[in-house]
């Protein structure tokens, strides 16, 4: 399953921006949405509206930015930042960034860096089943409960779990199936014969 990522590229050279965009869009395993920020004066506004997961920024883009400040100001506290480098840069300048991309990086290196950054996002417990996108039997039980209209609390009581665990399971289910709503899960449950129509409330 491909991972959705929203990326903003803040770079004043149109050639570099488009080149990077083309390369990113070709990476297998990712569905990348890109927005370009062409000048420093639209950086904050652009990020505030677009709310990317990752910002790839040329640190020498005119105007000086405090990254933490920028994240706060545009309401994206969890945004990751790559420095986009043409040549050797002052390490002090690069310290606030999560990672660096060089204009000479290959597609593979780029992919690797994105994967690494993304892996940090996923807590280890969720990772184990990642290869198989089918639901575990526990997850199926939870789907049935959700479809019957039970609350997280009720599901937790029924299955002897903490509500926190139920929430984690539900997040994993949504991620695996790409289905978030209860009515969407109902379709999943009926199609996969986890439940019959007569068991549904209302």
């Amino acid at each position: 399953m491909s991972t959705n990522i929203k990326i903003a590229i803040a770079e004043s050279s149109a050639i570099i921006r488009c080149g990077l965009e083309t390369l990113l869009k070709r990476l297998p395993g990712f569905r990348i949405q890109i927005s370009e920020i062409t000048a420093a004066d639209c950086l904050t506004e652009g990020l505030r509206i677009y709310k990317p997961d990752i910002l790839i920024m040329n640190p020498s883009i005119p105007g000086s930015f405090n990254l933490q400040h920028l994240k706060d100001e545009c309401g994206c506290p969890d945004m990751k930042c790559f420095a986009l480098l043409y040549n050797v840069s002052d390490p002090f300048l690069l310290r606030p960034y999560d990672d660096q991309i060089s204009v000479y990086d290959s597609a593979d290196e780029l992919k690797h860096k994105l994967e690494r950054l993304n892996a940090e996002e996923v807590p280890p417990e969720e990772e184990e089943n990642d290869d198989q996108q089918t639901l575990s039997s526990r997850e199926k039980e939870i789907v049935v409960c959700v479809v019957k209209g039970m609350t997280n609390r009720e599901i937790a009581d029924r299955l002897y779990l903490s509500t926190h665990t139920v929430i984690t399971h539900r997040r994993n289910i949504a991620r695996k199936l790409q289905v978030h709503s209860a009515s969407g899960l109902t379709v999943y449950a009926i199609v996969n014969k986890l439940i019959e129509l007569k068991d549904l409330n209302g």
């Binding site: 927005s35 639209c42 506004e45 509206i49 709503s181 019959e196």
Partner: protein
């Protein structure tokens, strides 16, 4: 910044070039109230002939065809808000009174041969979705647009502002994406040309709704924000 202000298409570009190069723009054109059969005329001529603000039309088509650049603060500058509202209203009318009923009709027909309970839940999912779109859009029609029309006449409502709308404005295409995923991955019946055709309709509608929302978030809302500041 410059390239956003003078986007790819200008007054002097041929209308037929715009449409042939970006076929979803045929819907934008029709929502602005322009009919087919515009011959060799350029965008400026067609707009003037149909009494449509050319600048607003160009702002919307350039914004939608140039999808990757974050619009700069001035993208909405000098647009005609009333033209934009007409456009948005016609889009709502299209989704609610044509697109969604049309998909429902086709979908119902396409899934007749699958198990009854599956057909039932798919239809129910769709109806719930259509109801959500309805609510989403009628809020805009009944609350947001009247507020803006009053604002244009200089009547400010002390109890409302466009930030309220911006905060509650959700991505209405999310759930139709779910329907697409469910049918693609789990549809239990035999494949059919009709079902594939419904899927294509769903893909197109997903895109169309996302574009529609982008126009609201990036052009309409900023335009109203600056109108409020005046």
């Amino acid at each position: 910044m410059e390239n956003m202000k003078n986007g790819k298409y200008r007054e002097t570009s041929k209308m037929s070039d715009l449409i042939c190069e970006n076929y979803p723009m045929v819907l934008v054109m029709s929502r602005f109230g322009i009919d087919l059969g515009f011959g060799e005329k350029n965008i400026g001529e067609v707009c003037r002939q149909n009494k449509i603000d050319t600048h607003t039309f160009l702002t919307v088509v350039n914004f939608l065809t140039e999808t990757k650049t974050v619009p700069v603060a001035e993208v909405h500058k000098d647009i005609s808000i009333s033209s934009l509202i007409t456009y948005l209203h016609n889009a709502h009318d299209y989704f609610l009174n044509f697109r969604l009923p049309h998909i429902r009709h086709k979908l119902t027909e396409a899934i007749v041969s699958c198990p009854k309970d599956v057909a039932f839940v798919i239809r129910r999912f769709f109806d719930e979705y259509a109801e959500e779109v309805h609510k989403h859009m009628s809020y805009e029609e009944k609350t947001v647009f009247p507020y803006v029309r009053n604002l244009l006449e200089g009547k400010k409502d002390p109890k409302y502002n466009i930030t309220i709308f911006r905060k509650r404005h959700d991505q209405i295409e999310m759930k139709i994406t779910e329907l697409k995923n469910l049918i693609l991955k789990y549809y239990p019946g035999p494949d059919s040309n009709l079902l594939n055709s419904v899927l294509f309709d769903i893909f197109a509608t997903e895109q169309d709704l996302a574009s529609h929302n982008r126009v609201e978030d990036y052009i309409f809302v900023p335009a109203i924000l600056s109108l409020e500041k005046q």
